[in-house]
């Protein structure tokens, strides 16, 4: 194959092909940015959800967990943790998360350990709000089942 292609042809394929790919990608990026607010319920990002996301970041939660499948693979998926542990009740989920965060690290021998982050009650509630908001993102029905 390579014998029939000259250097100039190869260069033109490179420039033409890349330009085409970049243009399509930029176009789709604009379209995606337009559509994400509806798919993610952007209007429901309250101060508490935003603050929960910040806590998620500054405590490096993604260093062990995944969220919508991205992150480390050491600890459970959390984009659907509200569906899994929340009993379809926001207040129930918040009290669950308060107890869970306070109990860390669990004393079980050999079990993977989550550090104690010493978050305040308000911070844990913010984190819960962020995870509840995340659980409602339209992510093409992922994960396949409740276990994440």
């Amino acid at each position: 194959m390579a014998d029939r292609i000259t250097k100039n042809m190869a260069r033109n394929i490179y420039f033409g092909g890349s330009l085409f790919a970049i243009l399509v990608f930029v176009g789709l990026t604009f379209d995606t940015v337009q559509k994400v607010p509806e798919l993610s319920n952007d209007d429901q990002i309250t101060h508490s959800v935003a603050s929960g996301k910040n806590l998620w970041e500054v405590n490096n939660c993604v260093g062990c967990h995944t969220i919508m499948g991205e992150g480390a693979y050491y600890a459970p998926e959390l984009a659907n943790v509200f569906d899994r542990r929340g009993n379809a009740n926001e207040e129930y989920f918040k009290s669950y998360l308060q107890a869970w965060m306070a109990a860390q690290p669990l004393p079980n021998n050999g079990r993977r350990k989550m550090p104690q982050f010493n978050l305040t009650e308000e911070q844990v509630n913010d984190l819960a709000d962020f995870l509840i908001w995340t659980s409602r993102i339209d992510d093409n029905d992922w994960p396949p089942n409740i276990e994440g």
């Binding site: 190869a10 994400v36 607010p37 910040n54 490096n60 939660c61 276990e147």
Partner: protein, 460 residues
């Protein structure tokens, strides 16, 4: 070595190798934590060790790229480096900032690190691979800019070759896409969407340009093949890379809240992504077959061929395995992803560093014909130890991923929970650790090869 300023590359390579040793060491720590959750807890929690592991990887690759560019650009441009002094200063600034950041991860709780570096004023922290404090990110930008200025001026003032122009394109692309690291929207979906502009468009985009340029340089040097021929192959490879890789970003937009047309676009475009890596295999082996000189530095060609093959396996084959949306629905975020990530990074970006180092380090040490036979034999042993070790790690993680999917993802009812599944996988993680140890022994063997004494006759 034609120009004395090429020597600035040496500390970059040495430092990259030191960081690589650290990276693998932390990989072993993580491997043990997968087996026993109490290991080094609470001294080094998993997330901290992982941060160190992946950040060392990124930084060492950047050091390697810089070393490669400082070595090959003067030679290609047929002139001295624009400013060797700037290259030396950049080295120390980058090394100091890198070490300080890693020590910060290890000795300061991450939330405190965020606080003392004023993350609140300009939040960028807490995302995978972009964990660096904002101040470090700004430092990276300055270092990369000074590096690109230095390389760019050398290219502009000297002979322009396809290799240097492609390299420079890759480096500029790298700098441009890194700027998205500074954009952290409140909406998690947009955050993830643009996060991939850094991660994917680096690894499966512009970095492949840099990889192709370095590989081409070494192939010209050790095979003596006509430059016209090399240029044509390089253009074809990077054409396929960008055509498939840019829209291939879509394979990350399946299940993160982005529109569903990405299911199709991501699947189709990224199904083509193995092609440039396959071309790279053909390229390396064809050039080796058509070689016009028999360079005494045989091991450099071994590394070059190895890079192409393992990159094809890791990035191409293991990537394709789970890149189609219906498959990815089940594999997304499992150990299969980890399997792909490990072999792809090793094959493409670690082995290319071994390739360029194998070629130019002997020259910089006054051995224009390569290291002596004994040193090359030791290096060849390390090649196989590391390659087989990484393949073992990859196969183990693949097995773990498949088992995880069967237990946790596939069943519609009665699926095993995440933690219970992981407990079942521990025997496989033990196998993974054993192969990880083999990689580390391979690296130690490799480092030892630098200290094998040259026989007197060769020296004279």
């Amino acid at each position: 070595m034609k120009y004395s300023s090429q020597m600035v590359a040496k500390p970059y390579f040495i430092f990259a190798l030191i960081l690589l040793a650290g990276e693998i060491l932390f990989g072993l720590i993580l491997g043990l934590q997968y087996i026993n959750g109490d290991f080094l807890f609470p001294e080094i929690p998993f997330n901290v060790a992982r941060m160190v592991h992946v950040n060392l990887l990124i930084v060492l690759i950047l050091f390697g790229f810089m070393g490669a560019a400082y070595y090959l650009v003067p030679e290609e441009s047929e002139r001295e480096l624009w400013s060797p002094l700037l290259a030396k200063i950049t080295f120390w600034v980058f090394a100091a900032a890198g070490v300080a950041t890693i020590l910060g991860y290890l000795f300061v709780p991450y939330a405190t690190l965020a606080e003392v570096t004023y993350n609140d004023l300009f939040p960028t922290m807490g995302r995978e691979f972009l964990e660096q404090p904002t101040i470090t990110k700004i430092g990276i930008v300055l270092v990369v800019l000074s590096f690109i200025l230095n390389i760019g001026m050398t290219v502009l003032k000297g002979r322009k070759t396809v290799i240097t122009v492609v390299l420079l394109t890759g480096l500029i692309g790298m700098a441009v896409f890194f700027l998205f690291a500074f954009y952290l929207p409140e909406n998690l979906v947009l955050d993830k969407f643009f996060w991939w502009f850094v991660i994917h468009l680096w690894v499966e985009g512009v970095w492949e340009l840099i990889l192709g340029a370095i590989l081409s340089f070494v192939l010209i040097k050790v095979t003596g093949v006509d430059r016209e021929h090399i240029d044509k192959w390089l253009y074809l490879i990077i054409a396929m890379t960008l055509v498939s890789g840019i829209l291939g970003t879509g394979h990350h937009y399946f299940y993160i809240g982005t529109p569903d047309y990405w299911l199709w676009i991501g699947s189709i475009a990224s199904a083509v992504e193995p092609l440039p890596f396959f071309l790279m295999v053909l390229y390396a082996f064809t050039m080796a077959k058509q070689r016009r000189i028999d360079h005494d530095n045989k091991i450099a060609l071994t590394w070059a061929k190895g890079t192409a093959v393992i990159a094809f396996l890791g990035a191409g084959v293991w990537g394709f395995m789970h890149t189609l949306a219906p498959v990815n629905y089940f594999t997304h975020g499992t150990q299969l992803t980890a399997a792909h990530g490990h072999l792809a990074f090793f094959g493409a970006y670690i082995m290319i560093l071994f390739t360029i180092i194998a070629y130019c380090m002997p020259i910089m040490r006054g051995r224009p014909h390569g290291n002596c036979l004994k040193a090359q034999a030791v290096e060849r042993a390390s090649f196989w130890l590391m390659v087989i070790g990484m393949l073992g790690v990859t196969f183990a993680l693949t097995a773990a991923g498949i088992a995880q999917i069967m237990m946790q993802r596939w069943p519609e009812t009665g699926a095993l929970g995440f933690m219970a599944t992981q407990a079942e996988l521990i025997p496989i993680y033990k196998v993974r650790f054993a192969f990880g140890l083999m990689v580390f022994i391979g690296l130690l063997t490799y480092l030892y090869s630098f200290f094998v004494k040259e026989p007197e006759t060769v020296r004279s």
